[in-house]
């Protein structure tokens, strides 16, 4: 078995003449266009939580663990190792993070969360790189193992603490929050006016600059740092060459095993930080099942971002946003989101139609029509569905975008030194 799996349904596309480049300007324009659309939806459906600073702040906090898992996946898959064990590494991060935070302080929690994730990464690296086990098989095993370990460790530790139990830790000390000075007063006034676009922009900026946990800042820096290390250093070039063509890399004297190990260990560490964030910042305590599949969503965010940091961050942002919406007057907000999805689907269908993808354009247009009809005929979305909003979004996004993505060439393929 090979973790790359079967590759049907993704016929190789002819390289386009003009390659789309995600520059700062394009990214900024895309964000503004999205905000304009959101603003329109907010005014139409009167769901003011869509762009409130509270929602944006919550979305940012929800996006961080997903982004850390996604970044972990990025590191590992760029070196050619599929890491489905991210979920397990995150779980290890939650326990280790909570244990250290409770005993020594929140920042120790972050460091030990990373250490917990690295331990999971080490297991994955030993299994996949040294022993050549199928990557997905190893990842599944690590997810099972991590669950067992944390349950066992919790029953040995947290169960004996006051306020803790077999499945949950006592309350943890949290990490300080910071604000950009002056922003709050300026933007709060604008936000409550509920002007079209202006208030939405104010809400967005206020959510991003006021009362932000320091760990979020660290996480953002980690994404930027990862980009520089992977794309602007010799180390990064060699690491990525192991994911594209390890045999060629080997022939140039690159120690492929070393780079794969390094990538998977960093991957585990990042996922561990994501887990620690969940325990220390989001939850304020360790709770079993806290990760709730965010490791997998992180992986989806990375695929959505075409194995690039900026795209991955955008994906994590979208998933974080839907995740946050369900918590903030979820039924009406998610209901309003239906209109947004319908509009996006129609736009996508029109674009497909212009590119002569008639059949697919019709399918997407029908999907959009159904979504619009649901929006018009109902007032709220049942609460049970709001919890699945990020997952439905993931499926939708992947089915719309999967064919335009290009993963590292040797991703998931077994490699043995001298085997070329």
């Amino acid at each position: 078995m090979s973790a790359s799996g079967l590759t049907v349904g993704a016929p190789p596309e002819a390289p386009r003449a003009v390659r789309f480049r995600l520059t700062w300007r394009v990214g900024l324009l895309a964000v503004l266009a999205f905000l304009l659309l959101l603003s329109f939806v907010r005014v139409v459906s009167d769901a003011n939580d869509l762009t409130s600073s509270g929602t944006i702040g919550a979305a940012l906090a929800a996006a961080v663990p997903i982004a850390m898992a996604g970044l972990g996946g990025l590191w590992s898959e760029r070196a050619g190792v599929v890491n489905i064990g991210l979920e397990g590494m995150m779980i290890l991060g939650t326990w280790f993070g909570a244990y250290a935070a409770f005993n020594w302080g929140p920042w120790y929690g972050v460091v030990f969360g990373a250490v917990g994730g690295v331990l999971g990464g080490l297991l994955h690296a030993v299994a996949t790189v040294t022993f050549g086990v199928d990557h997905i098989v190893s990842g599944v095993a690590i997810n099972i193992l991590a669950l067992g370990w944390t349950r066992y460790l919790s029953s040995l530790t947290f169960a004996n603490y006051a306020g803790g139990g077999d499945t949950q830790s006592p309350r943890l000390p949290t990490i300080d929050r910071v604000s950009v000075p002056g922003m709050n007063d300026l933007l709060a006034d604008l936000e409550v006016k509920r002007w079209f676009f202006v208030s939405d922009l104010a809400g967005l900026l206020r959510g991003l600059t006021v009362n932000v946990s320091e760990l979020i800042v660290v996480a953002a820096l980690l994404i930027v740092l990862s980009y520089f290390v992977l794309w602007r250093t010799a180390f990064g070039l060699r690491l990525r060459s192991c994911g594209e063509n390890p045999v060629a890399a080997e022939s140039l004297g690159v120690n492929v095993y070393f780079y794969k190990y390094a990538a998977v260990l960093v991957s585990g560490g990042l996922a561990g930080i994501g887990g620690a964030f969940l325990a220390i910042v989001s939850g304020n305590l360790y709770r079993e099942g806290q990760t709730g599949g965010r490791g997998f969503i992180g992986l989806a965010a990375m695929i959505f971002g075409n194995w690039r940091p900026a795209g991955m961050a955008a994906g994590a942002g979208i998933f974080g946003y839907t995740d946050a919406l369900q918590l903030r007057s979820g039924d009406t907000s998610i209901h309003a989101l239906l209109l947004l999805i319908a509009l996006l689907l129609f736009a996508f269908a029109a674009w497909q139609f212009s590119r002569r993808g008639r059949r697919w354009a019709t399918v997407v247009a029908i999907l959009g029509g159904v979504t619009l009809a649901t929006y018009l005929t109902s007032d709220t979305v049942p609460g049970q569905f709001t919890s699945a909003a990020p997952h439905i979004t993931t499926l939708l996004v992947l089915s719309l975008a999967a064919q335009r993505l290009r993963m590292p060439k040797a991703d998931g393929l077994p490699y043995r030194r001298g085997g070329g």
Partner: protein, 373 residues
């Protein structure tokens, strides 16, 4: 010569799981020692518990569910298709089958058939979404089935609480309308002196195992499936329509997944309520890996898992945290996959050595020949 070779291959095939279980036992013992518990005491507690007839029935019942789940996973695995979504498929199938079973009233054999068919259809349809997305849009089934698991949870919760629910007598649990006697499958008193009974639908697991074996080894479809799993390019070259295969395999896997909850539903619960067992789909993945996708190997794996799960309750009474069993299970899986890989490499090295020995023995006697088959 041939017989000796076969024997050696069998020995190699058995060596991997045995090595892995032994290694996992050592690792788990170390963990227990660090925590201040006695490994031999823990093992004795587990074995003693398994001697009780009541636990033995539980082991068989758990193994039945695990076996069906692992077969569902294995169908995909044989073709390099990772159906991680067995969990969502069986839960949704059990919910809808329970509702159908509770609402309709039919004579006994027909009633059971309708329930089973509903489960099969729902499981296949839910897995089919992932299959369809893969063949039409190229979405990796690993990600899509994981997402479908959560969506199944949401959909199930919505259907149960908003549409199907009736209060369960004597508790604040809610569940579907109980299935009347005509839709139930009575248990079998397989083990003497046991107060509980073995699921009547244990034969369903046996049929699934035989069907799986026949399908893969005796039909053209099975051959195509295995060929695609071994080498997709070779299969395409020999005329296999891989897209069609992916869709059919996913539907089959989902259909078997739909049956996972049935022995429990028709033999014990009779209603899908909030406390219906969850997570069996993930257990199935572990057991399929352990049993190397082989119907008999999977049976052993399912029994081992059933033994560990059913007996672990006794550990808590001895003051040992029963979560140690989950560590042991996870370690076994990881060790097993590594051991299989090591044994495979060893076998290849042996084969190469044998071929080179044969060749060098023949070389002086005449002109070079091709590699003997």
């Amino acid at each position: 010569m041939a017989a000796r070779f076969e024997l050696r291959r069998l020995g190699l095939a058995l060596a991997a799981p045995l090595l892995a279980v032994a290694f996992a036992a050592i690792l788990t013992s170390i963990v227990l020692l660090i925590a201040g518990d006695s490994p031999s005491g823990a093992l004795r507690t587990l074995v003693d518990a398994a001697k009780r007839p009541r636990i033995q029935v539980q082991i068989l019942n758990l193994a039945t569910l695990y076996y069906l789940s692992a077969i569902a996973v294995a169908i995909g695995f044989r073709m390099n298709l990772f159906n991680i979504g067995v969990d969502g498929q069986y839960r949704l199938a059990a919910l809808l089958a329970a509702e159908v079973g509770g609402v309709v009233s039919l004579p006994a054999p027909l009633h059971v058939t309708v329930i089973l068919l509903t489960a099969i259809t729902v499981g296949a349809a839910w897995a089919g979404i992932a299959g369809l997305l893969k063949v039409t849009r190229g979405v990796s089934e690993v990600i899509s089935t994981i997402m479908l698991n959560t969506i199944a949870t949401a959909l199930g919760a919505y259907l149960l609480t908003e549409h199907f629910a009736v209060p369960v007598a004597g508790s604040n649990n809610i569940g579907t309308k109980p299935i009347p006697a005509s839709g139930q499958v009575p248990g079998i008193s397989l083990i003497p002196d046991a107060p509980n009974k073995v699921f009547g639908l244990i034969f369903l697991a046996v049929i699934a195992g035989i069907g799986y074996s026949v399908l893969l080894n005796r039909t053209r479809f099975g051959f195509d499936l295995r060929a695609t799993g071994r080498s997709e390019t070779a299969a395409v070259a020999s005329g296999v329509n891989v897209k069609r295969m992916v869709l059919i395999t996913m539907l089959l896997s989902g259909a078997v997944a739909g049956l996972v909850g049935m022995p429990q539903l028709l033999g014990d619960s009779y209603s899908y309520s909030l406390d219906f067992p969850t997570g069996i789909g993930f257990t199935g993945i572990a057991i399929a890996l352990l049993g190397r996708n082989h119907p008999i190997g999977i049976a052993f794996g399912a029994l081992l898992w059933g033994f560990l799960d059913a007996s672990s309750v006794a550990l808590d009474l001895e003051g040992i945290s029963k979560e140690i069993v989950v560590i042991m299970q996870g370690t076994i899986v990881l060790c097993v996959v590594i051991a299989y890989e090591l044994v495979r490499r060893y076998a290849i090295a042996q084969e190469q050595r044998r071929v080179s020995r044969d060749l060098s023995a023949r070389a002086p006697s005449g002109e070079p020949e091709g590699v003997p088959a």
